[in-house]
């Protein structure tokens, strides 16, 4: 009698546990951005209400402290189930064993821009709802005033044409600088925004065939040609140097101090507010190997230590719906990850004012080197382009950068490629 009671009680307890929702924890980098948090919270509430197995709990971190928090969490063994991860950093986290493969089918990501799907070692580790894109932002009236051809996606400016454009604008004397590449934004902006120029010249940060060496790729003839062009930009005062203050970067183009600014879609709304229809978002110049822009933004992945990858995956699949992609894009101006979400969105629809960024992402985007060593390469590249901008010898700087990247790859036994 007593035994059956206990058994019944145990059974009730077990079934009670099975009915309660299991908690799935999630970390996000966007603390402080209320609009962004509101969309994500809405998506989480929808998910928690839509099924009875899982309940997602989100914790937000300020972006500047996020990566450090994840590293600390991994060292301390306290990572959550779901992490968001910056695209170029993902291979490092996957290689280090923080992340596990998402377990998504190829069909599920077929509609996504390639740059929003994070792959490492032949498997999908992360997926993003948006991408970011950069463009040469300027005003139609400016180009028309100086008789400059308006480039198109099919016919971008060539390298020589671009140099002539800058010379014309410079000669007019109407601007402090004809171009602003954003040297005030130190950090990831440098490799993200400037390595595409190098790639358009035919070089790269590292040889993507195996990712074992930068020698001859970064400091080869194409790299040197890029370096000399880059140095001339600063030597001829075509663009503000590393001493540019951040305020000038933010408002210089709006104030008319710069004629063209090399800037991301996240500033598009501000520029449109200021100049309306007069704004042009132009593709990068083609220096011989096609116009290139950087790609890869924040994406979602599952921690290796997660005890509930099923639940984590279910939530990520839930997030991948067009309605959330559209919502993020409408609120934050991000490039939607799928064409259908883009068509439904405010800025990227058929007549959207930012639609050109989707085309740029689709046609010109080249993700940063997919290697765990990228985090180091990014720092080395940043220093090299800053030094060259400040007048250091081009060949010596690129040689030194290539040597340092190679030494680092060696020290890490080839980073598992």
């Amino acid at each position: 009698m007593k035994l059956t009671l206990t058994l019944a009680g145990a059974l009730a307890l077990v079934s009670g546990v099975a009915q309660a929702q299991t908690e799935i924890s999630m970390w996000y980098h966007g603390a402080g951005n209320e609009e962004e948090a509101a969309i994500l919270k809405g998506a989480i509430e929808d998910f928690n209400a839509s099924q009875s197995d899982w309940t997602v709990v989100m914790q937000s971190f300020p972006q500047i402290a996020y990566n450090d928090s994840v590293v600390a969490g991994a060292l301390g063994g306290s990572l959550p189930d779901i992490l968001d991860v910056d695209g170029p950093v993902m291979p490092n986290w996957a290689w280090s064993g923080y992340l596990q493969p998402l377990g998504l089918d190829e069909a599920q990501v077929a509609a996504f821009l390639p740059s929003t799907v994070g792959r490492w070692d032949g498997q999908i580790y992360s997926v993003g709802l948006w991408d970011a894109a950069v463009a040469m932002m300027t005003r139609k009236s400016t180009l028309e005033k100086y008789g400059i051809r308006i480039p198109t996606l099919d016919q971008p400016w060539t390298g020589d044409e671009f140099d002539e454009v800058l010379a014309t604008l410079k000669a007019s004397g109407d601007f402090d600088y004809p171009l602003d590449v954003g040297m005030a934004w130190t950090g990831e902006w440098y490799p993200y925004a400037f390595s595409p120029f190098l790639q358009s010249f035919g070089g790269d940060i590292v040889d993507r065939d195996g990712y074992q060496s930068a020698d001859g790729v970064l400091n080869g003839d194409a790299g040197i040609a890029f370096g000399e062009w880059w140095q001339a930009l600063f030597a001829n005062d075509m663009t503000p140097g590393t001493g540019q203050d951040p305020a000038s970067r933010d408002t210089g183009f709006l104030d008319g101090k710069y004629a063209i600014t090399w800037n991301g879609n996240w500033t598009a709304a501000t520029v449109l507010d200021a100049f309306g229809d007069d704004v042009l978002f132009l593709p990068a110049p083609d220096f011989g190997h096609g116009p290139k822009i950087g790609a890869g933004s924040w994406q979602f992945g599952i921690a290796a230590t997660s005890e509930h990858p099923d639940g984590a995956r279910a939530f990520i699949e839930h997030l991948m719906q067009d309605r959330y992609i559209t919502a993020f894009s409408d609120t934050l101006g991000l490039v939607p990850a799928t064409a259908t979400a883009a068509a439904a969105s405010k800025h990227y629809g058929p007549d959207g004012d930012m639609a050109v960024f989707y085309d740029l992402s689709e046609q010109q985007a080249l993700i940063r080197p997919v290697s765990p060593g990228y985090v180091v390469m990014a720092k080395v590249f940043e220093k090299a382009v800053a030094d060259i901008a400040n007048g250091a010898d081009v060949i010596d700087s690129l040689d030194a950068a290539a040597d340092e990247i190679d030494a680092d790859i060696q020290k890490n036994d080839g980073y598992g490629h």
Binding site: V71, A74, L75, N92, W95, S96, G97, Y98, D176, T186, P240, G241, T242, G243, Q244, D245, P246, A247, S248, V375, V376, K379, V380, K383, A386, D387, N390, G391, A392, D396, D399, A400, D403, A407, D408, K411, N412, D413, G416
Partner: protein
Amino acid sequence: MASKLTRSNRAGWAFALPGFGLIALFIIVPFFFAFGLSLTNQRLISPNPTAFVGLANYRDLLGLGVITLEPERDAGGQILRGADGTPDYPRVRNFTRNNPDHPRLDGMREWFRWQSGDTQKVVVAKDVVFMKALVNTFTFVLIVAPLQAGLALLLALLINQRLRGINVFRTIYFMPVVVSIVVVSLLWRFIYSGDNGLLNNILSVLSFGLFRPVDWLGNPSTALGAIIAMSIWQAVGFHMVIWLSGLQTISPTLYEAARIEGSSPWQTFRHVTWPGLRNTAVLILIVITMQAFAIFAQVDVMTNGGPRDATQTLVFQAVQRGYGKQDISGGSAISVILFLIVLSISLVQRWLTREKN
């Protein structure tokens, strides 16, 4: 003896415990960690196993070599000269990359060179950035320590007077100390801005437009100076307060006696004030030296070590490597070297300023 120390001071030890505990946990233990890590190839995050590498990290930082470059000659032994008459020299990289004749120079880079006759001597270093950081840090300390201490003493003497509203000046001089160094650095970045920064504008007005604007932080020859000036201004108030406390320990009767003896202000300072400040001076010298060696935030916010390594410093490099480039062992090695430098300098300072009797 030890038993008496522990027994009769039980309450004292109890009070000291939290402090000792925290110091041990956050300063002493990490130091031993750093020392241990610097002998391995530990990465910040990596699936690869950690291995003991001995002094390899130190060799990678401190390795130096000298190359003598002979000018290039044609088949007849004549020196090949460029358009301006200077001889052509082979590239240093020919010696330092995969050259079996110079295995010791492998992987080194040019630090600096000088001319002697037709040959050039090139000093190559395994880690040029570290060497530049070392030189910059010493330059920084050698300029900041005397200037900041002197200026702080001057300010302390100025505000150590009974005047109406003297507290206003005390507050103003002390203000930069209480503001976060990161905020101060950001503000000074605007002041030093090359386009239309405050400093350029002021200099331009004062010189009736003759002054050509300078990109203070973007120019390798002015960047370190700009950081030095700003650092002195920022921390001078702190040392001023220490001087001030020293000044106020000097007995007024000594000044009275000096006045009765008819001593001039300089004589009073030389023979009453300065001897009375002896211990304060030793303290300030050691504190400024230690603080100056640790310069980091200004560089991180204002220049990132640039332009062209003109403002690299040891702590900035340690952080940059250990965290930015995830090379914790390399960063630790720099920390250990910095520790040894500061320790030996402090010991020398203690010895030089010891009581001689």
